[in-house]
Symmetry: C2
Subunit: 218 residues, 2 copies
DNA sequence: CTTGCTAATCACCGATCGGTGACAGATTGG
DNA sequence: CCAATCTGTCACCGATCGGTGATTAGCAAG
């Protein structure tokens, strides 16, 4: 820039940027936050040590020191994931009385659909899960599925699926449908020819989903 | 290995590797084949100019010359995709008489499920679609959905969905479920707690899928 | 054989990647 | 006050990335 001559010897009296305090806990948190933010906003494609360090505004060496590298950092994200899920998906029944297994699954479907739509980090992780099978993503996947299974179990209460229906397989299909449609919509606003832009589109999707659930469980 | 001393001065009389013939068409095809193979086997993560050139056993410069770079190459893959789909998914009804829309959708679901399970390239492309929104993947996505839509339209014949059902939305859910469950199984042999390893597991998944279809369309 | 044309290769560029060793500044215990 | 420890920064490494001239090598027509 102008005036960048070396002769001036002003000792940078007070650098406008406030000095970074020496605080390990805060730095660790900043790194973790930056990692989650980066993963949520940019996806797993360019997720690496350098990017996280840039995002956290610190040296990448600290990531190695405090988390033992990217693997450890991802693991820390996974640990966070548990509470994350429990914070974002309601545990109660929303004031409804779930009388039948169909009631339960309809409600679970809607809650999961909305939660996933509202959670970019979780979406990126799901996309990562179906794209790679590294150690990193396996850890994340495990944490996610465990948290999810726990939530479902808590919601289920004492309700049991009707006889003659392989509920595990059917539910896997339903959750798979939700995950894929939300992922597809997040990147291209559509899925299998169905436009998913505004709330009205999502209303149609939700209705179709409920119809599917009711078609199986009544 | 043994005997690899540098003193021997045999002028490599006849390098075992046969000399590459000067043949533009063949080279172009080799590049395209290598690209498809790489994408199918390694995924889109490490899919790049250098990797394709290595796989094709030629210089990357030729990819720029013949395809105008990676974008053009991906476009060529997309063009291939159309015939690819039509080759791999049967157009007939398998000797069945599809009397109802439910019959049709059940058959389409099974065909699509099997086709996707058997086609690693298509799987990688689907995973790519939900992970990124670059120009490249958009081209591929468009080619895929167009080929798929054409196939469905051809199979549909004159059958129409029952009144009172948003078939477009429901079918999007069904296809989303198939895609996600196949992708998840391909990388981790499971989906939403459902194990998907052997044929028996897939039988259960197929049954669940049919039950869902029949639940909606009867 | 010579002359063009073109297929194909080589060499190199700057940028970025993951990873590491050395060092500087602050804090703390003795 | 000194020394050890901890936090943070910097410089550098080799490898790989996408991308681009310049060059070599084979083929065919004259």
């Amino acid at each position: 820039m102008a005036g960048a001559n070396a002769a001036v010897k002003i000792p940078v009296e007070m650098p406008v940027v406030e000095k970074r305090v020496r605080n390990r806990a805060a730095t660790q948190q900043a790194i973790l936050d930056a990692a989650k933010r980066l993963l949520a906003e940019e996806g797993f494609q360019n997720f690496g040590i350098n990017a996280v360090a840039r995002g956290a505004g610190c040296d990448k060496q600290l990531i190695y020191r405090y988390y033992g590298g990217l693997n450890g950092l991802v693991e820390a994200i996974g640990t966070d994931l548990g509470s994350w899920v429990n914070d974002r998906i309601p545990d109660d029944t929303g004031g409804m009385f779930l009388l039948t297994y169909g009631d339960l699954m309809e409600r679970l479907s809607m809650l999961f659909l909305d939660a996933l739509r509202a959670d970019p980090l979780m979406r990126r992780i799901v996309a990562w899960e179906v794209s790679e099978n590294s150690e990193q993503v396996r850890r994340l996947s495990e944490a996610r599925s465990k948290a999810l299974a726990g939530w479902i179990e808590r919601m289920r209460g004492s309700l049991v699926p009707p006889k003659g229906v392989d509920a595990q397989a059917v539910n896997a299909m339903i959750f798979a449908a939700i995950q894929h449609i939300v992922l597809a919509a997040a990147v291209s606003d559509q899925c299998a020819g169905l436009t998913l832009k505004n709330g009205k589109d999502w209303e149609k999707a939700a209705t179709a989903l409920k119809r599917i659930v009711r078609g199986v469980y009544g």
